[in-house]
Symmetry: C2
Subunit: 297 residues, 2 copies
Amino acid sequence: MITDFQSWASQRQAAIEQFLEARLPGADCVPVRLHQAMRYSVLGGGKRVRPLLAFAAGELSRADDERVTIVAAAVELIHAYSLVHDDMPCMDNDVLRRGKPTCHVEFDEATALLTGDSLQTLAFELLAERQLSDDAGTQLAMIKQLAGASGSRGMAGGQAFDLDNVGKTLSLPELEFMHIHKTGALIRAAVMLGAYCSDVLDTAQLETLDHFAKCVGLAFQVVDDVLDAEASTATLGKTAGKDAENNKPTYVSILGIREARALAGKLQHDADQALHEFGEAANRLRQVTDFIITRKF
Amino acid sequence: MITDFQSWASQRQAAIEQFLEARLPGADCVPVRLHQAMRYSVLGGGKRVRPLLAFAAGELSRADDERVTIVAAAVELIHAYSLVHDDMPCMDNDVLRRGKPTCHVEFDEATALLTGDSLQTLAFELLAERQLSDDAGTQLAMIKQLAGASGSRGMAGGQAFDLDNVGKTLSLPELEFMHIHKTGALIRAAVMLGAYCSDVLDTAQLETLDHFAKCVGLAFQVVDDVLDAEASTATLGKTAGKDAENNKPTYVSILGIREARALAGKLQHDADQALHEFGEAANRLRQVTDFIITRKF
């Protein structure tokens, strides 16, 4: 086991990149423009936060690395599809992502639309094509969990709730509702799918892990809002200050930056508390949580 | 068993409508605009050709009706999502579908984007949430088949190939390649998923059924091109003559209308031949094939 977090994270990020590189259809495969756009939107960038969480949860449940790589890639594909669609002119109309032109700018809108669609499909294909659990029924439950986390009662629903409320004043519970769906659901799925790749955790332990994942998901978003309010476009690799410019409610706009930072700290504490019962087996999850809270981009 | 085709089809169309009505999130469920748009785009319209094929294949394999209803609904959700996205301004920019304003016209583009995304997700959720085969491994294979049929090597890939070739002259094999992906793959998935709900067919029989499905899928598209070239907007319930207007290659533009009709006849013959070995058990599939070939809208 690699104990140094940076080495571990780099190795896992490379494993995900390598897997996706090999599994995405080749750039010379017809229809070439679509496949080029899919590879452009997925490869060579991103912090891979969700895969790291899946790997860390897989370490807790002593799951097989190859299995975890697949579920981590599936979650990352859902995340990548959502970014491609969110950046489109009819949504956030953003031109920069991970320091590169967004998909619809580099290619065109129709290709970006089909790219997002196809990345979502590929995520579910990955979860069905190889054995990911000793029990096929558990694997079906994993697919159900990712679908629930991604659809209109999960990530896409959070995005729709966000759009419905641009320019409106949200209460803190409403903002929390939005983020539990928009970002939280997929982060939770990343943790749970990683753990489900083995069957060593019992129901109570899985519930504890789920509670941890909810805290981390919210903390991730609070930190995101703080970074967006503070950082420059160059540091973020995406257009900074967009939330304020678009008059979108954020933790910073509702709480102020000082209180938002304090909330992130409280959520990190809650996440740590949830992991207490797992002892040292959860060290990797603690490290990923620290990384999420203290990141600068 | 209901032998009259019209009664049978009406009953199955009603069963799909009822299932989707109950399964789609309610119109008062937050985020309401997204859920209203999802229901608007799926309910109360369409010929439900793919569900009818799934039900007919399920009859051949003596599958449980409730299981077939779920796979039929999943395939129809993929079809519905593709229509919502295809109609958007960056794709076909169409304003009329099934006699009603298209989703982005009735709602807005951002909602249409999220509606298509969420309908796709729901399709995979349906295939994972209840038992659809006595063997969970077979159910995973069904999910893999639907994903393969829908993604960049299937339906979405066919759509991308279509966009890449607007204004170009396609050969007949290229046109066939496009339609095998764009429409054929999902029709094939409808037939095979219906059959997979039971395990009475052996591998050779499933291959024969797959060959039948390929013929029907192509025949469906040839008839579609003929109808688009001939019919009025009022009859079709969608904007007629769009293919010629958009300078899109069709079977009619390449073969002429007379030859295109002859090709549809030949494909129907091939489909019938494939069903020969199944005897009377395939009568429902024969009836649905006749319906597809002789439809006027």
